[in-house]
């Protein structure tokens, strides 16, 4: 069962292998461990508070980067000038 509470008595408060766990969580979030990731992830999130917090933090960072850093407005006529350049190659 999924446990999405921010804190849960079932979770341990210390993670014994923070560095390894966090890197693993990041790979799962990056979509690199598609097959085995889902199950591993659920286990970690259910049992370990630091992993749970880290996962949600990383998820939030990815969200804000994606929504707030991808909207650089394209200069007017850039696309047009590129099309023109390839039509008259020097």
């Amino acid at each position: 069962m999924e446990n999405n509470d921010a804190s849960s008595p079932d979770r341990k408060l210390q993670c014994s292998d923070v560095s390894k766990c966090f890197q693993l969580l990041e790979r799962i979030l990056d979509g690199e461990l598609v097959e085995e990731g889902e199950e591993m992830l659920q286990k970690k999130l259910d049992k370990c508070q630091p992993c749970f917090a880290h996962f949600h933090l990383e998820q939030a960072i990815r969200e804000v980067l994606k929504t707030k850093c991808t909207k650089q407005p394209l200069p007017d006529k850039l696309a047009e000038s590129i099309r023109q350049m390839i039509q008259d190659p020097r």
């Binding site: 880290h54 980067l65 707030k68 850093c69 200069p75 850039l78 390839i86």
Partner: protein, 201 residues
């Protein structure tokens, strides 16, 4: 070039590939260029140069393969060869030092324990953007490719000409650096102060 000798595209095919597979990525390309150069004119030139090169070397692009990754690779190489040299703001961070420092477990733990998902979500676009822009170019690049553009590690390895293991570790370090900056912003916004006060009571 692959071993298979590809036939050359006809004039019509070239236009079709260019318009159908290259031009749709222009927004992402410009965003990437702007975040590398921090200058609208330089970014515009960089994107233009990249598309000119893409057109000139169109015969080495295989239709049906990942056009976006192919274009990003050209843009990244153009940036390194033509723009990075004349950059007004050379990177002041010692890469090696940063790499060693951010590889320890202590740093992993500290950098995340004080920063909460909710405070990140409450931040303004400018703060997020400044935090990203403040990273040294190699770290900034992997975040852009992974998080803004959604490239896989394998695609990133090809774009950057580095092994997948290096992609993974560089990305992890880049994220730790980014979290350090975001943590600083969160503290100055007043998040986390309640907890400190409680501890001091």
């Amino acid at each position: 070039m692959s071993e298979v000798q590809r036939r050359k595209y006809s004039q019509e095919e070239r236009s079709a590939v260019f318009d159908g597979e290259f031009m749709p990525h222009i927004d992402s390309m410009y965003n990437f260029a702007f975040r590398l150069t921090f200058d609208e004119d330089d970014a515009k030139d960089l994107v233009q140069d990249t598309y000119m090169k893409a057109f000139r070397f169109i015969n080495s692009f295989e239709q049906g393969t990942n056009a976006k990754a192919w274009l990003f690779r050209i843009l990244k190489n153009s940036f390194i060869n033509d723009y990075r040299k004349k950059s007004k703001k050379p990177a002041t961070v010692d890469y090696q030092e940063v790499e060693t420092f951010y590889n320890s477990d202590d740093v992993d733990y500290q950098s995340t324990s004080d920063l909460r998902a909710e405070s990140v979500r409450d931040m303004l676009g400018d703060e997020i953007s400044n935090a990203l822009n403040g990273l040294a170019v190699d770290f900034r690049t992997v975040i852009i490719l992974a998080d803004l553009e959604g490239f896989t590690y394998e695609e990133m390895a090809k774009i950057l000409d580095i092994p997948i293991g290096t992609v993974r570790s560089r990305l992890h370090r880049a994220r730790n650096l980014l979290k350090e900056t975001l943590k600083g912003y969160a503290q100055s916004m007043g998040y986390g102060r309640d907890e400190e006060e409680n501890l001091n009571d």
